[in-house]
């Protein structure tokens, strides 16, 4: 595997390999000096055409903790404003000598397109509504650590909210299913994708019906522009039907965990202060982000996946 573009491309074995590797990186991050020389001399460029706080910063921190050099491409100050095409931008950066592109773009499939134009590895940090594989790795790792299990057989993951426009949901459905979890989607019909019948999931329109059998409650962010687009009548109705309030928290089994990929819309999908929840994993999701991205960069540039990239040398 030269690229990490989707969970399905990664496959079950790759998923387990990266989750195990993440455990090493967690230990590295706990050291008094949390830095290893593993990727010395490698260059990682982050190419973000959409806004991001945690994904971009955690990729950059991850690269630096592995001693890679980092380049940050900020669209607003680049030659994209002079009309330079994506292809020319990628080829220009490739010519400078980079080993990995970390890319976020509003269009589905951009990472696949870019991997045609460069010899470097490509990591998908979110393409449109399609995939966000490192977020799914973060979420699987966080659940693995919190529940102390390697596989999710017998666990039910309930994803609530705007499934249709969510790359996080698509990547998580693949990843959690691969590890054996049952996935239930809860959303108004307007926020479900038309092809949901072909997905390995159960669908419900009533959150209250599924809470009692939920082990992992995953709240998605409702983007306010969805209201303008007519997907939901108004935010208060959405909050009433699909928001997590104290009454709904009480309906969850006591050992159930609550997750959210951030950024959170307090008062819409999250009506309780998550810091008051007994089993919120939201902070762990952020803190595990760096270790997961270290594992991804290490695997692509130095680990098992790098075999295809390495020059032939005598041992």
């Amino acid at each position: 595997m030269k690229h990490l573009r989707s969970i399905d491309e990664l496959g079950h074995d790759g998923l387990v390999r990266l989750l195990n590797l993440t455990q090493h990186m967690v230990e590295v991050n706990r050291r008094p000096i949390p830095k290893v020389p593993a990727l010395r001399g490698r260059t990682v460029v982050s190419l973000f055409f959409e806004d991001s706080t945690r994904t971009r910063l955690s990729f950059e921190t991850a690269a630096k903790r592995l001693s890679a050099d980092t380049m940050t491409f900020s669209v607003s100050t680049s030659s994209v404003n002079k009309g330079e095409s994506l292809r020319d931008t990628v080829e220009t950066i490739t010519d400078m000598g980079v080993d990995a592109f970390v890319i976020r773009h509003k269009s589905t499939g951009t990472p696949w397109q870019i991997s045609e134009w460069t010899t470097a590895s490509v990591v998908n940090a979110g393409d449109g509504w399609h995939q966000h594989p490192t977020q799914a790795l973060v979420d699987c790792f966080t659940v693995r650590e919190a529940l102390g299990v390697e596989r999710f057989d017998g666990l039910t993951l309930t994803i609530v909210g705007d499934i249709k426009h969510s790359r996080v949901a698509r990547s998580n459905i693949s990843a959690f299913s691969m590890l054996g979890a049952k996935v239930v989607l809860v959303a108004p019909p307007t926020l479900l994708p038309p092809d949901v019948a072909h997905w390995p999931v159960e669908v419900s329109n009533r959150l209250d019906d599924v809470l009692a059998r939920t082990d992992i409650l995953y709240m998605l962010r409702l983007q306010s522009e969805r209201m303008a687009q007519g997907h939901v009548p108004n935010l208060r109705e959405y909050a009433e039907l699909f928001g997590l309030d104290a009454k709904r928290v009480a309906k969850l089994p006591t050992r159930a965990v609550v997750m959210h990929p951030g950024p959170m819309n307090r008062g819409v999908e999250m009506l309780v202060d998550p810091s008051t929840l007994p089993n919120s994993l939201i902070h762990q999701q952020v803190s595990n982000g760096v270790a997961v991205r270290m594992a991804v960069l290490f695997d692509l540039l130095a680990g098992e996946s790098s075999a295809a990239n390495l020059q032939q040398v005598t041992p």
Partner: protein
């Protein structure tokens, strides 16, 4: 088939001797810590730690383990797959660290461990204990405590466990 160069009893006696030598050199067990190199050195570090704590029952010498794969100098030349996770749950600053490995060969793993241990702090001194020194060093690294010096061919395979040490010649039958 390989040749048995140390029996289980030989290994046990070597561990006892090395443990005494460590304590003698340090004049006790004050600020002494044992760090085994994952994975081959982990069992030997456990054995040396146990022996030292039997000789000096008040010492309470801690044992840790370090995985050096991310400090290796051949990253980028071959795929690196980390072994077991590092576990060093004690302070390294100011202590005497005895690195422990089963077989000392080129010295590259030890070099990586010397670098790796610095991420945990600044030891007062670092020493090296190995069960087998098989020669063929590629770096200026020398062990402080040796179970057995074993001249080998560079292609030989040396396996060291609690049950004994076996050398297999890959070239000649």
């Amino acid at each position: 088939m390989g040749n048995i160069v140390m029996s289980a009893d030989d290994v046990r006696r070597a561990i006892t001797r090395i443990s005494h030598e460590i304590l003698e050199r340090q004049q006790g067990a004050d600020k002494l810590v044992i760090v085994g190199l994952q994975r081959g050195g982990a069992w030997l570090a456990d054995a040396i730690g146990t022996a030292i704590n039997q000789i000096e029952p008040q010492a309470g010498v801690p044992v840790g383990y370090i995985d050096v794969s991310m400090h290796r100098d051949d990253i980028g030349l071959r795929p690196v797959v980390p072994g077991a996770i590092s576990r060093i749950s004690f302070a390294v600053d100011g202590s005497t660290v005895v690195l422990v490995d089963d077989v000392l060969f080129t010295g590259r793993t030890v070099r990586a461990a010397l670098e790796g241990i610095n991420a945990y702090g600044r030891p007062r001194a670092v020493q090296l204990a190995v069960l087998i020194d098989r020669g063929h060093r590629e770096l200026p690294i020398r062990p402080d405590y040796v179970g057995k010096n074993l001249p080998t061919h560079i292609d030989d395979d040396v396996r060291a466990t609690e049950a004994g040490v076996v050398i297999t010649n890959q070239v000649a039958p």
